[in-house]
Every structure is written in structure tokens, then in C-alpha cells.
């Protein structure tokens, strides 16, 4: 409903300049696409606002340019007609004919609270407006003050005449008379789908002495009542009708009969003029000849299946009996959905095409009149050659209008509900004998043809472009879908096989950089397209960074940060590198989670001007999650280079700030360790040194690190094992794997590394081989293990690093081969002790939590101290990880 209305309001523009009061209705029967339509043209009156009336189902829409209203009727609307002064609207629906006055309607529409945006005002038509109570009214016609109502009864068509009131009074109209015509079963068309509405038109006899014919004809055309040539009028409808100057109502019935009724003739009856033997689709008048521009010389009746009947005056009848009415029948390719005539042409729509038929080549042409003997045969031949206008799906046509340039403008309503203005080029009327024309005319017609060809070419190229665009979009969409399916499938399979990597995934590496005296940690994300598909325009890499946990004091503000990087093309095998700031120095909200996803925006499929019309599309997009990376404390560590002081390091020298002078490194590390030890002794009074230890069995490390690191030999020495462990811990990047660039490698020479955490605290990582024995059992069984010790003055750093190292080793354990686990001998006692300890600690925690919850006994400081003690104790005796 809304769509129809918006289309109608958009129509205002084109109709605003052409004849202005457009009156148009659509009736949808049973809500399906069986649409019956009719259109009528009025001519400008004082106000040049277009008015559109449109009926659909039980509703009638009215648009007067500024105001819109919907009239709701109790049952489906079958026909509507406007009064001559445009003040009243007669609408027929199931229960009868309603009369609605526009002033009333507008006042009601304005008084009802309706937003401009929420659509037009809806007015329920009250039953007081029922002026004619008659069932199954199918067509209406207004002639003067007489309202004609055609309805179908059980066995007859009933044409009733009602006297209309001057104003819209809420009283029934007085019936003047009624005429009935017995129903004839229309055979096969009865059952098949759409029943055509009977066509009602009114024909006047033209005044013979019409000098001011142009004005007269235009004013009468406005009433949609036509003036027929008086001679033809008399021939068709009789002398009495002509003498009484009575308008004649023509009624084309769905059973093919064309009936007529002289309105003002006493004793007149509804009589059949002609039978078309197929549903009458259109009745109209055409001038055909230029000699008498005022009056139509030809009555045109078109049937639904394409039968065209022209009724003209024929001079010199068969037995010399003066003029007679000639009926010329022809067939065009049907089905005729709607039709319209202008002076010389019949326009009709078959639903798939709009065709124009030149009526003037008929027997009234001068040549054919000379040879009286065969008048009909050339006509019929000429009539079967309509020209296509290449406009499809026209459901209704308004009367053609000629503008000043001589162009013919047709208004058509398409099946989809678009009102189309169809402007025909100036076509010179060609006579049949083209050879008789002077060469200038021939040249001109050739020019016309050429320009027509040019027009067609232009249209073809436009259409080709459109098709190309569509193909492009489809291909694009196909790629997008492929990528989507690939990623979705890999997400699903990942749950079962965690080892398998996605074909499109992200890796990342972290770098410290210094900008404007400020250190910051940058994350470089690398999107790796190892899928067989191209990531085309419209894809966006979206990276969301958020801390895994945040301190309660920081609140919610430290939540996620989103970065998106649109990119154009990423062919298979190519990578895309983007970098983004992760954290500034002093930010301790590690570990952080980096989740990557690919986003495709649907609006990028279309061009910008197309997306404007689809506001919903701009927001719609496809989001495909890739993988999630974790940036932990280890990644954020700045390893102290022996040569350069970390504080003096600048961003530009970052790539080569790890010189490979192993001796120096060793020395410096040794020195710092010694000095550190001394320092620690000194600072013990003022600052507590925190430490944590993790023990990993060296056998496990040997087995796994050999796999992950490059093999440095068949068997690693203990020293090398420690170094390689530290190396592995420090060099692995988020997202797994190592950066292949040599310059980025941290060459470790000693098993002790000094580094600075992101908050600036220095930290020492050291690894040494220890032997863990089962002393209590007395057996000589002991395992060699590597112990990683973390020492720092900041407890946060120690905690973070401890967590990071543990999670790394956990990941390592997951990828460890099975056999290592089988060789492990369980340290039952150690485990038991550890378990006991853990139980005690858990009890302690519980206690402190309870007291904390009750808020009594202990202060917050006390509580945190006790928790810290517990934590320390947990860290004290690390279990051996085997």
C-alpha cells in the first residue's frame, strides 16, 4: 500500500506540466495481480495541482498534490468516476455506489492526526454516503446529472439511471429508469480468471456547424465524452437520437456485445449495435481524417483477443442507397489489455508490448475511396501491421496528449505500478504510396528511420551495460559467498581438529616503537590469504583488541578497541600487513586478545547512486570471524640489549637493536646479573623482590623444542636447552609461528635475560637445569628439569610473566607428542604434597573471602596481604611440568 502511494506521489512531477488533473484508478481484485485499470484525463482548471485517485482493494487513495488521503470502503471497489466539477467522487463497491465530496474528504483527512511521514490520512467512508443501493455494480458513468450504474444480475445486465443531487447529500438518489439486457453466456471466457469490467462511454453527436471546433472538442474530450460525426452518429444510433440531441451511452460487455442506449429518448431501449464475440476491451473515437477536425469520424472497438472493429461512414452503399455505416473488422495480435486512441492512431498494450496502429490508412484514405469495389481488404491488411513501441507491461493508458512540439505523450501504468510517461517522437504520417512522395519527404523519413536506429542503438548499449554490471555484481557476490562458506566450514571443522589452520588467517607481531618521547607497543597484523579465492573490493579487515581481564579499578572503560582496514584486492597467496597501536608504555592491561574478522559490506556491490535508494543496504554486511590472537606479557617485554640501554633506544633503530655480539652480551648479562644480585641485596630493605619459578622437564623440552625450534643438533646440551627455551619464550609471536626475518630474531647468548616490562619495571628471566629427585623414596630416580625463574620488583610483572610462560608451556604440552607422556614417572609424593598444600591454601583463600565478604575482622589491607602470601606460597614450590 505504501509503495503504491509513494509511486503515486513521485508521479506528480511528470504530470505537473502536462494536462493537469489526472484521474486514475486501479482496482485490484482479490488481491492478486488481476488488475483492472482505467485512466481519465481532465484539463486544467484553476488549480494546476495534479490529483490522483487510485483504488485498490477496498481502499481508494486520493492525492491532490499536497494532501493525500485513503478512503476505506466496506467492500472491494469496482469502479470510480469523478463528477464534472471535480467536487464529487462516485465509487462503486459491493454494496452500492458511494458519493464522496472532496471538500469533506480533505477536511476529514486534515483533521485526522496523521504525520507526513506515517502515510496519508485514512478515512473510513460512512454508510451515509451510500447514494445508490445496488449490488454487484461493475461500472459507472456520469452523463450530465445522470449517474449510470451497470450491474450484473442473475440473468441480465442492468443499466440503471439515477438522478444525482447537486451537493453530496446523504440521501439515496432517485432512480429514473433502468434497462436490462439478458445475459448471454460468454463461453470460454467465463471461467478463465479475470473478468473484464464492462466498458461504459458516452458519445455525443457533433454539431454540424462547429467553427470553433478545436475548443469544443477539447472541452468535450475533457468530459471523456466524445463527439461523433453527426452522419455516423445518425447511421449508428438512429435519427431520433440525433434529433433529440441525446447523448448515447455505449456499453461494451464482457460477452462481446456492444450496446447503445440513447439517454434522452423516450421509449429507447438498450440495443445491441455489434457483437465482437470476445470481451470488449476498449471503445473509443478517432478522427481519422483531417478534413473535419472537430468530430471523430470513426468509432473504434477493440476486443480482448485483438479484434478491431472500425465503424465508419461509407458513401454509396451496396445498392446505391446513400451513405451507410461500414463495419471494418481486422485482427491484431492479442491479448489487448488496454487501449487508447488519438486523432489517427490506436495505441494498445498486449501486456508485453505497447503497439500503435495507424487507423488512417483505412478506406477513408483518398486512394481507396476511388476504388470502391474492394474497400475492406486493403484496410484489414493495413490494420494488421501495428508498430511496436517497445514498452512492456502497460496495464492502462491515459488519453494521449499532444504537446507543442507535436510529440505524443502517453501515460501508462505498468503492472508493477509505475506510471510511465511515454513520449513518442514526431512521426510524419506516411501514406501507403511512399513512392509518390517527393524526395525531400523520403529523405526526411530516411532520417527519421536513422535516428530511430540510433535511438535503438543507444538503448541497446545502455541495456548491455546494465547486464554487464549485473554480471559483475553476481561474480563478485559469488566470490564473497565462496569465501564465506570456506571460513564457516573451517570454523566448524576447527572444533574437531584444532590443529588445522584456517586458509585465511591472521598472524601478528609486536614491536615497541618510540614516538614523541613515548614508547608504545605496536601490533602488526598480517592477513594471510592462502585460500584459492580472491578477496575483492568491499572486504574490510576488522581487528578488535580487548584485554582478557581488567582490574576492577579500571572499570569498563578499558574495553575493546576496534580497527578496521578496508582493502581492495588480495589474491591467493598474498598477504596484507596492517599495524595498529596496542598499548602505550605503562599500560599493564596484558594479556590482550586480538580478534580478527573479515567484513563484507553489501553496499559495495552496487554503485553509490544505487545505494542511496536502499538505505537498509548500507548497514547490512557479512561478518566472518577469522582467528583470535593473544598478546601476553612475554610479547610485551622489551629485552635489554647489552649494548644499548633500553631507554636510549629509538624507534628507528628498533630493527637492528639486537647485535649479535654474543660475548658482549654474555658479559653484560653476567655483569648485570651480578650487579642485580648486589642491588637486590641492597634494595631488600626498601623494595621487595618477587620471583616465580616454573619447572619443565627437559626431556619434554628436548622433544618439543626440537620440533618447534630449528634443530641445533641431535641432542641439546643443558645450557643450550635453557637458552633455546628462553629464546622460544621470547621470540614467538602472537598467532603462532615465528617471523622469518633474521633481523627480528633475538639472539640469546646466555640463559639469563634482562628485560623491561611494559610498565617499565625491569625483569630478569633465567633458566637453569635442575635435577628433581624423589628423596623420600630414596630411589635414584630423578628427572632433569629446566627451571625458569622470573624475578622482578613488580609483582604485577611477575604475575603476568608467570601466567604468560605457563600458558605458553601449556600450549607446548598440547602439541607435545604422546610418547613423552608415557615415559613420565609420576611423582606421587610430590603431587600429594602439592595437593595438600593446595588444599590448605584454598582453605585460606576461602577464609579470607568469607571474612572479606562479611567485612569484619580484617581490613582490606590485611586481606590483600594474606592473599598475597597465599599467592607467593603457590609460586614457591612449582610442580615439575613433564
Amino acid at each position: 500500500m505504501r509503495a503504491t502511494l509513494s509511486f503515486l506521489s513521485s508521479v506528480n512531477k511528470p504530470t505537473g506540466r502536462s494536462p493537469s488533473v489526472l484521474f486514475l484508478g486501479v482496482v485490484v481484485m482479490e488481491g492478486r495481480c488481476a488488475v483492472e485499470t482505467w485512466a481519465e484525463f481532465g484539463f486544467p482548471d484553476a488549480s494546476r495541482t495534479p490529483r490522483i485517485t487510485c483504488a485498490r482493494g477496498t481502499d481508494v487513495f486520493i492525492c491532490t498534490g499536497s494532501d493525500e488521503a485513503v478512503l476505506q470502503f466496506p467492500s472491494p471497489v469496482s469502479d470510480l468516476v469523478e463528477s464534472h466539477d471535480k467536487q464529487l467522487l462516485y465509487v462503486s463497491c459491493g454494496s452500492g455506489v458511494y458519493c464522496v465530496s472532496f471538500p469533506f474528504l480533505l477536511s476529514r483527512a486534515q483533521s485526522s492526526p496523521a504525520d507526513a511521514c506515517s502515510g496519508p490520512a485514512e478515512v473510513k467512508v460512512p454508510s451515509e454516503f451510500l447514494v445508490v443501493e445496488q449490488e454487484s455494480v461493475s461500472s459507472l458513468l456520469l452523463v450530465g446529472s445522470v449517474l449510470l450504474v451497470l450491474s450484473q444480475r442473475d440473468a441480465s445486465w442492468l443499466l440503471s439511471l439515477y438522478k444525482t443531487a447537486k451537493e453530496a447529500q446523504c440521501s439515496s438518489y432517485e432512480m429514473l429508469s433502468s434497462f436490462s439486457l439478458p445475459l448471454v453466456s460468454s463461453g470460454d471466457t467465463e471461467g478463465t480468471g479475470m473478468r473484464r469490467r464492462p466498458v461504459l462511454t458516452c458519445v455525443h453527436s457533433g454539431e454540424p456547424k462547429s467553427q470553433s471546433s478545436s475548443s469544443a472538442s477539447s472541452s468535450t474530450l475533457a468530459d471523456s465524452h466524445f463527439q461523433l460525426d453527426p452522419v455516423l452518429f445518425k447511421l449508428l444510433f438512429g435519427i431520433e437520437a440525433a434529433l433529440a440531441k441525446s447523448p448515447v451511452v455505449l456499453c461494451g460487455l464482457p460477452d462481446g456485445r456492444l450496446c447503445f442506449l440513447p439517454l434522452r429518448l423516450p421509449g429507447a431501449r438498450l440495443r445491441v449495435l455489434h457483437s465482437l464475440e470476445e470481451p470488449v476491451a476498449f471503445v473509443g473515437l478517432s478522427v481519422v481524417e483531417e478534413t473535419c477536425p472537430g468530430h471523430a469520424k470513426c468509432l473504434v472497438v477493440v476486443g480482448e483477443q485483438g479484434r478491431v472493429v472500425l465503424m465508419k461512414t461509407v458513401k454509396g452503399g451496396p445498392e446505391g442507397g446513400g451513405t451507410t455505416a461500414g463495419f471494418i473488422e481486422a485482427c491484431v495480435a492479442g491479448p489487448v489489455v488496454c487501449g487508447s486512441v488519438d486523432k489517427h492512431r490506436l495505441y494498445y498494450s498486449t501486456g508485453s508490448d505497447l503497439l500503435v496502429l495507424d487507423l488512417s490508412v483505412g478506406p477513408s484514405g483518398r486512394e481507396s475511396r476511388e476504388r470502391d469495389d474492394d474497400t475492406s481488404s486493403p484496410t484489414a491488411a493495413a490494420l494488421t501491421r501495428p508498430n511496436s513501441l517497445n514498452v512492456c507491461r502497460v496495464m492502462a493508458l491515459a488519453a494521449p496528449a499532444h504537446n507543442n512540439a507535436g510529440e505524443v505523450q502517453l501515460l501508462g501504468l505498468s503492472v508493477r505500478g509505475q506510471l510511465q510517461a511515454i513520449v513518442l517522437p514526431v512521426v510524419e504520417r506516411r501514406d501507403e504510396a511512399l513512392s509518390n512522395q517527393p524526395s525531400a519527404q523520403v529523405g526526411r523519413s530516411v532520417g527519421d528511420l536513422l535516428s530511430a536506429i540510433g535511438d535503438v542503438c543507444q538503448r541497446v548499449s545502455v541495456l548491455k551495460n546494465a547486464i554487464k554490471d549485473k554480471n559483475q555484481i553476481l561474480r563478485h557476490l559469488n566470490q564473497v559467498l565462496n569465501v564465506s562458506f570456506l571460513l564457516i566450514a573451517s570454523t566448524n571443522s576447527e572444533e574437531h581438529r584444532p590443529g588445522q589452520e584456517k586458509p585465511i588467517r591472521c598472524r601478528a607481531l609486536t614491536r615497541w616503537s618510540r614516538l614523541l618521547q613515548k614508547d608504545s607497543l605496536n601490533l602488526t597484523c598480517v592477513l594471510d590469504n592462502s585460500s584459492p579465492y580472491v578477496l575483492e573490493q568491499g572486504w574490510t579487515l576488522s581487528v578488535t583488541v580487548f584485554p582478557v581481564s581488567y582490574s576492577p579499578g579500571a572499570g569498563e572503560e578499558s574495553s575493546s578497541t576496534n580497527f578496521s582496514f578496508p582493502f581492495n584486492y588480495l589474491h591467493p597467496g598474498e598477504t596484507l600487513e596492517v599495524s595498529l597501536p596496542l598499548a602505550a608504555a605503562g599500560d599493564t592491561s596484558f594479556p590482550m586478545r586480538v580478534s580478527c574478522s573479515l567484513i563484507f559490506s553489501l553496499s559495495s556491490l552496487l554503485r553509490e547512486e544505487e545505494t542511496i535508494h536502499l538505505p537498509g543496504l548500507q548497514r547490512s554486511c557479512i561478518s566472518l570471524p577469522l582467528n583470535t590472537l593473544t598478546v601476553d606479557w612475554l610479547h610485551a617485554l622489551q629485552v635489554n640489549n647489552p649494548t644499548t640501554h633500553p631507554i636510549n633506544r629509538n624507534a628507528t633503530s628498533q630493527s637492528n637493536h639486537y647485535p649479535t655480539d654474543t660475548v658482549k652480551a654474555f658479559l653484560s648479562s653476567h655483569r648485570t646479573r651480578c650487579s642485580g644480585r648486589g642491588e637486590s641485596g641492597e634494595k631488600k630493605a626498601e623494595r621487595e623482590q618477587h620471583s616465580a619459578r616454573i619447572r619443565v622437564s627437559s626431556e619434554l623440552l628436548r622433544d618439543t623444542l626440537v620440533d618447534t625450534l630449528e634443530p641445533q643438533g641431535p641432542k641439546l646440551s643443558s645450557e643450550n636447552l635453557c637458552i633455546s627455551l628462553l629464546d622460544w619464550l621470547l621470540s614467538e609471536h602472537p598467532g603462532g609461528g615465528k617471523i622469518g626475518q633474521q633481523g627480528d630474531r633475538i639472539a640469546l647468548s646466555s640463559s639469563c635475560v634482562h628485560a623491561r616490562g611494559p610498565n617499565g619495571d625491569s625483569v630478569k628471566l633465567s633458566a637453569k637445569e635442575v635435577h628433581v629427585g624423589e628423596e623420600s623414596t630414596g630411589k635414584e630416580e630423578h628427572l632433569s628439569a629446566v627451571e625458569v625463574q622470573l624475578d622482578s620488583s613488580s609483582i604485577a610483572t611477575v604475575c603476568g610473566l608467570h601466567h604468560a610462560v605457563l600458558s605458553r608451556i601449556q600450549a607446548l604440552l598440547q602439541s607435545a607428542p604422546e610418547r613423552t607422556a608415557s615415559t613420565v614417572r609420576v611423582q606421587s609424593l610430590g603431587l600429594r604434597e602439592a595437593l595438600k598444600r593446595a588444599e590448605r591454601l584454598s582453605e585460606q583463600i576461602q577464609q579470607s573471602r568469607i571474612s572479606g565478604a562479611f567485612g569484619m575482622g580484617t581490613s582490606t589491607g590485611q586481606m590483600s596481604r594474606s592473599l598475597l602470601a597465599v599467592y607467593k606460597e603457590l609460586r614457591e614450590n612449582p610442580l615439575l611440568i613433564i
Binding site: 453527426p230 435519427i239 442507397g321
Partner: protein, 604 residues
């Protein structure tokens, strides 16, 4: 048994509500339909439970209401079905199952079995409805056989019943009825009398009809129906050749109901039959003015009664008696009578009114009648009006009207036309169906008559040259017609008769015009030809004698005059249209002077 009584009460209330609603606005058709369906629904509810003696009264009341609704909407079969089924259901309790071959037998059985039960009166009410349906479907014989009026009368007169029904009306727990059965009986009785009277009248049993009607005239009834009774009595009397008494009856009918136009029409016919032209014209004038009243044809009765007389009185014989021609037709009659009987100027005015009415944009009050049998075709009306204008010596107006006819027909006139013998054509081929030949003939005759009238106009203006011109045009038109057979019988009113008459008149007119311009030879030729075509033409005969006289052929002249005088003047002109009569406006010859001349000539 608490529940049934409770249900009964709600149903009774529902029924009464419906009846009240019905009475608020019972006119609208939609309201009627709505009420009808509501009553049907209620009936279905009440019949949902098995028949119970407590329910019978309510149930039959609802049936009554529903049947009234159906009958008023002319749904007789539905109503009939409803009625019989309801009664059969009611009788199941008395364990009588009246199975009867036809309705009268069924009803007899029913009446016998309920005669002493509580719901006797309800069944009698329903019998009234049956009566109404029989009447509406014109089954007068059944009504007569059944002696319905006497049967129901006993019930209506029953004292106890009256009391009971009054009591019933007051207490709220009794079911109401949409119409009072007693009023219905009254209406049915008078309507039956009227229908029977009309039937007998059409069967030529005027005296029986009259006696029946005289009984009916004392019955209480609405005005319209009493007027119908008087009207029918008048018709019986006029059939029995008592025109004055018939007139009295018609007068009574009109006095009873001033809208009874048919009484006026019938009296007009009697005046015409009596030859009282002035009274006839007066009646026509009254009739026309009454028909022009907006409410003339709509019976005012409908407001008071649910059953309109048009529903109950639908027999063919009655409606043919009540038929009144349209206002236009009456106006034409009036104009013609005035023009023929010396009130020319009045007639002209009526003719002009008629033409104006035909041309009026919105025909105020003049309904377009689908059947207006009496009105001649439009060109003929023009010509008649023209002739009347000529009689009133308004020749310019006459010529304008004739011009209109000529301009309309001229382009369509054929070059040649063959006049066929009307007897050869089969009866079935009516004027509408036959091809254009007939129409062409009529057209040619109209155009010829128009030229003839124009010629007469010029004669009247003493513009002899123009007169000759127009007469010549007329003659030229007429000679295009060839007769298929040479020995065709000239029948009154046929095309050939009109053709011959036109020929005679136009030739006579031209001859007279020639006489006035002293072209005596041409004049004599035309006048002789005129007499050949139309021997009874008085003007042609007299003027022929005059020309002969002037040419010195006096004996022949005297013979010609005397032959002309021997014709019974205007005898043959009675059925002819006005424009085919001999004009009285041309140059006249004084018969006295002619006789004087004959005497002067003396016996030779």
C-alpha cells in the same frame, strides 16, 4: 427445569429486541436483510432444542417474524419452506404428522389437529402469512377454495383471543411480532377482493366482480386500496355500458385518494368514448399535471404498512388496469387534441412544451420510461408540432422545425428505394429488427413531409416561388420510391398510403401555387396528378375546377366541383397524423361563390 425457562426468556428478549430494532427503521433494504438474517439465526437457536410445549409459542412467533421478513423481500420459496417445516415441528408434539400431497390439504389437516391446542392462534397467524404468499403469487383459486377470509375472521373476532393478545402486548415476557396479525388480515382481505375483482373483470364477469367489490368497499382499508376498489367498480360499470355510473365511481376513487391517476385516466378514456372533447382535454390536462407531481407514481401507502400493495397485488389483469401512460405521452395526446379541436394556440404551446421536455438536459420529474408505447417517433412529433404551428400561423417557427428534420435526414436519404408490400414481410420482423430499408423509407417520408410543410408555409406567406420550390423538392423525393408491385392495396396508415397522400398534397400545393402565378397549364397538370394520387383531396378538386373554369372549360369545372363536394370531408383523415391533413391556411375558394357561379352558368 430451570435452564429451559431461562433460555426461553433470553430468546424471547432477543426476539423482542429485534422487533424493536426492526420498527425503528424498517424501510431500508439493507436493514431488512439484516433483520431477516438475525431472525433466521434466532430461529436456528430455538429449533436447536427438541420441541417442547413451552417453547412452541416463542418458536412460532420467531417463525412468523422470519417469514414476514422473507415475504416482504419476495423470497416466497424460502418463506414457504420455513413455514411448513416449523408447523410440522410444532405438530410433532401432538403426535400428528400431517403428510399431505398439497398445501391446502396440509393446512386443513393442521387446522384440524390444532383446533383445541394452546397454539391455535399462532398457527392461524401463520396461516395469514400463507394467505399473503398465495396472494402474492396470484393463487386466487386456492384462496377462494380455502375460504380463508371467513376462517381467519372467526379468529380475529374471537373475544378471548383479543384479550390475550392485548395482554401479550403488555407483558414483556411474551414474544412480539413485527406486524399485527389483525392488521394483516384486514389488508389481505381487501387485497384479495381487489385481485379477485380484477380477475373477474378480465374474464368478462363484470357483474360478479361488481358485487364482490361492493362488499369490499365497506371493509376497513387504507385509502389507496379503497380507491382501487372504486376504480375497479368503475371499470366494471364501463364494461357494462354504464359510462355515467363509471364516471361516478372514478370520481369517488379520486375523492378517496387524490393520487389515483389511473382513475383520472380511465375517466378521460370514457370522455373520449362519449365524444366529449372538452371534458377529455380537461381530463388530459389534469392528468398531465398530476403526473408531473414528484410523488405521483410512488404510492404513499408504503410508509404505514410493511406489506406494500404492490407486493400483494401483482396480478397481470390488475396491473393492466392500473397502467397509465407516461407524462410525455399524455402531453402529446393533449397537444394533439387541442390542435384538432380548435384550441390551436393551446395545442401549439403543449407541443412546444413536449419538445422542450424531450430536450431538457436533466429531465426534472419526467422519468424516462422504458416503455412509452403511445408516443410517436421523434421526427413525427417535430412534424406534428410544425403542422400545429402552421395552423397557428407561425410559419417561421414551423419552417425552423422542418429544417431540423430535413437537416437530420438529408444526408442519409437514399437515391432509390423499393417499397415492399408489408404483407409479404413476416410478422416476426418488427420495426427494430428489420434492416435499414424501413428506416430509410420512414426517413424519406419524414423529409418529404417536412418539405411539404415548408411549402405550405411559403404558400401561407404568399411566397409562391419558394412554395413551388419546396413542393418540387418534396415531389422529387417521393418519386425515388418505386413500388415492387403495381397493384398494392393502399391501407390506412401504411407507408404507401402516406406516400400517396404526400404526393397528392404536394402536387396540389404546387398546382395552387402555379395557379396563383397564373401558370394555368402547369397548375392543371399538377392538380390532375394530385387527384390521381389522392382522389379525396378537397383542395385539389376545388382548385382543379377553378383552373378549368379559368381555362374556359366550365362544364368540366362544374363536374369537378360537384364531385369534390360529394366527398365526406375529413372522413379518412381521422387516423392520420396532423401533418398529413389538408392545410386550412392556403388560399381558399368560397364554396358559396362557386355554387353561385354554377347557378349563373345555369343548366346547360
Amino acid at each position: 427445569m430451570y435452564q429451559p425457562t431461562c433460555l426461553l426468556n433470553t430468546w424471547v428478549q432477543e426476539n423482542n429486541e429485534l422487533v424493536k430494532k426492526w420498527k425503528v427503521r424498517s424501510r431500508a433494504q439493507t436493514h431488512l436483510r439484516w433483520c431477516s438474517s438475525e431472525f433466521y439465526k434466532l430461529l436456528r437457536k430455538t429449533q436447536g432444542v427438541p420441541p417442547h410445549p413451552d417453547h412452541v409459542h416463542l418458536e412460532l412467533s420467531v417463525v412468523y417474524n422470519a417469514c414476514v421478513c422473507a415475504t416482504v423481500q419476495s423470497q416466497f420459496t424460502e418463506a414457504q419452506l420455513l413455514l411448513t417445516q416449523a408447523i410440522q415441528r410444532a405438530l410433532q408434539m401432538t403426535s400428528d404428522d400431517p403428510v399431505a400431497p398439497d398445501l391446502p390439504a396440509f393446512w386443513r389437516k393442521v387446522l384440524r389437529s390444532v383446533v383445541n391446542t394452546a397454539f391455535n392462534s399462532c398457527v392461524l397467524d401463520l396461516l395469514c402469512l400463507q394467505w399473503a404468499m398465495w396472494l402474492a403469487t396470484c393463487q386466487l383459486k386456492t384462496i377462494q377454495e380455502f375460504k380463508l377470509s371467513s376462517l381467519v375472521e372467526t379468529r380475529g373476532a374471537g373475544v378471548g383471543d383479543d384479550k390475550r393478545s392485548e395482554a401479550r402486548g403488555k407483558t414483556s415476557d411474551a414474544p412480539l411480532l413485527v406486524t399485527d396479525p389483525r392488521r394483516l388480515v384486514e389488508l389481505l382481505q381487501i387485497c384479495t377482493s381487489i385481485a379477485q375483482g380484477a380477475e373477474r373483470l378480465s374474464e368478462d364477469q363484470s357483474s360478479e366482480a361488481l358485487s364482490g367489490l361492493q362488499k369490499a368497499s365497506s371493509l376497513p382499508a387504507p385509502r389507496t386500496l379503497v380507491a382501487y376498489v372504486h376504480l375497479l367498480s368503475g371499470s366494471c360499470l364501463s364494461h357494462m355500458n354504464c359510462p355515467q355510473m363509471a364516471l361516478q365511481c372514478y370520481r369517488k376513487a379520486l375523492e378517496t385518494d387524490s393520487c389515483c391517476v389511473c382513475a383520472l385516466y380511465q375517466s378521460m378514456l370514457i370522455y373520449r368514448q362519449l365524444g366529449n372533447t372538452q371534458a377529455e382535454i380537461q381530463a388530459l390536462r389534469l392528468l398531465h399535471s398530476m403526473l408531473m407531481l414528484p410523488s405521483a407514481t410512488v404510492p404513499a401507502l408504503a410508509g404505514t404498512h410493511l406489506f406494500s400493495p404492490s407486493l400483494l397485488l401483482c396480478s397481470q389483469s390488475l396491473s393492466s388496469l392500473l397502467l397509465v401512460p407516461s407524462a410525455l405521452s399524455v402531453l402529446h395526446n393533449l397537444a394533439l387534441k387541442c390542435a384538432l379541436h380548435g384550441r390551436v394556440s393551446e395545442g401549439v404551446e403543449h407541443y412546444l412544451d413536449l419538445l422542450a421536455a424531450l430536450h431538457s438536459e436533466d429531465q426534472h420529474g419526467v422519468r424516462v420510461y422504458a416503455e412509452a408505447p403511445r408516443l410517436p417517433r421523434l421526427p413525427e412529433l417535430y412534424l406534428e408540432a410544425g403542422a400545429a404551428l402552421l395552423m397557428a400561423r407561425r410559419s417561421a417557427d414551423c419552417m425552423a422545425l422542418c429544417n431540423e428534420v430535413i437537416s437530420t435526414t438529408l444526408e442519409l436519404l437514399p437515391e432509390r428505394l423499393v417499397l415492399e408490400d408489408p404483407e409479404e414481410r413476416s410478422e416476426a420482423e418488427t420495426r427494430d429488427v428489420t434492416a435499414e430499408g424501413e428506416d430509410k423509407m420512414a426517413m424519406l417520408l419524414w423529409a418529404g413531409a417536412a418539405y411539404l410543410l415548408q411549402g405550405h408555409c411559403h404558400t401561407h406567406l404568399k411566397d409562391w416561388k419558394q412554395a413551388v420550390n419546396h413542393f418540387t423538392r418534396c415531389i422529387n423525393l417521393l418519386v425515388k420510391v418505386r413500388c415492387k408491385k403495381t397493384d398494392m392495396v393502399v391501407k390506412q396508415g401504411s407507408d404507401l398510403c402516406v406516400l400517396q397522400r404526400l404526393k397528392g398534397l404536394s402536387l396540389a400545393g404546387r398546382g395552387i401555387a402555379f395557379t396563383q402565378t397564373n401558370h394555368l397549364r402547369e397548375a392543371l397538370r399538377d392538380l390532375l396528378l394530385s387527384l390521381q394520387a389522392f382522389p379525396e383531396c378537397v383542395g385539389a378538386g376545388l382548385w382543379c375546377g377553378e383552373v378549368l373554369w379559368r381555362l374556359g372549360r366550365r362544364q368540366e369545372a362544374v363536374a369537378c366541383w360537384e364531385k369534390t363536394w360529394s366527398f365526406t370531408t375529413q372522413s379518412s383523415a381521422e387516423g392520420l397524423p396532423l401533418y398529413l391533413r389538408e392545410p386550412q391556411s392556403g388560399p381558399l375558394l368560397d364554396s358559396k361563390e362557386l355554387r353561385h357561379r354554377i347557378q349563373e352558368l345555369g343548366p346547360t
